[in-house]
């Protein structure tokens, strides 16, 4: 079976990466590499990681997402995770995974509003 594709789109100052529903490990590893390359190539300020299609977040997937956010941080960008499904949030918490201090929001729309703005400049909540 072929691995599912990862959509990487540049929107103004932000990179929007949409994860497929149930990616295998090699697709998840490719996400990290492609995302970091695109961050530098497009000279964007932030990354929005859209998890709204994702059906499960196991320990490997969660660790890679959290590491990617750290790496983006080292490169000077901010990561916002958007759209996690309730069933995924419940299950990931019961499994014991966390995403560190990565900012999370309910929807991609909300993430794009916040993306590219310095954190202290965000007033509307």
């Amino acid at each position: 079976m072929q691995s599912e594709s990862i959509a990487v789109i540049k929107l103004r100052n932000t990179l929007l990466v949409t994860m497929p529903a149930d990616p295998d490990d090699s697709t998840i590893a490719a996400l990290q590499e492609r995302t970091l390359e695109a961050m530098s190539q497009y000279d964007v300020r932030g990354l929005v990681l859209d998890l709204s299609k994702v059906e499960i977040l196991d320990s490997y997937f969660a660790r890679t997402v959290s590491e990617t956010a750290q790496m983006v941080g080292l490169m000077g960008g901010e990561t916002i995770i958007a759209g996690m499904r309730p069933s995924v949030a419940i299950t990931a918490t019961e499994l014991g995974v966390t995403l560190g201090k990565t900012r999370t929001v309910m929807s991609v729309d909300r993430a794009l509003e916040l993306a590219g703005q310095p954190a202290q400049g965000v007033k509307a909540r």
Partner: protein
């Protein structure tokens, strides 16, 4: 406890973990589990098949649709002939790992399922059985 339907997925390469997840998702939905229960079962299956691949290299996952009176459920069995677990109670401890992972595989899968049994012998392999019932 009656066994209704069953099937198996051989875990030999990393991408078989995703194959096992898809098989478990399909049967869990057929049995009638809701979305959150399906996510729990599929996540546990992912952690346990990853353990098979990571520690033993290869093995097999078998699924069985089970019944107990009027209650239905799903049983998953993961079997390998890998190095085995030296201390099962330690392996179930939070954060314990010998594989460079986060050590949440076994204890996490146990939390996500209703029942878990582990048989392991050093040098012979490991068998993990988990069950989820539609009504606990």
């Amino acid at each position: 406890m009656n066994v209704l339907g069953h099937g198996e997925v051989k875990i030999t390469v990393e991408s078989d973990i995703a194959v096992a997840r898809r098989a478990v998702r399909e049967v869990a939905m057929q049995i009638g589990f809701g979305p959150t229960e399906v996510a729990r079962i599929v996540t546990a299956a992912s952690e346990l098949s990853r353990n098979v691949h990571k520690y033993a290299g290869s093995g097999v996952m078998q699924w069985h649709a089970i019944e107990n009176g009027s209650n239905g459920g799903l049983e998953l069995r993961f079997e390998d002939h890998g190095p085995g677990i030296a201390d099962v109670s330690e392996a179930l401890r939070e954060g314990f790992t010998t594989g460079g992972g986060l050590g949440m595989g076994l204890p996490g899968a146990k939390r996500l399922m209703d029942e878990m049994e582990i048989q392991s012998a050093l040098g012979q392999g490991t068998k993990v059985v988990v069950r989820k019932w539609r009504r606990q």
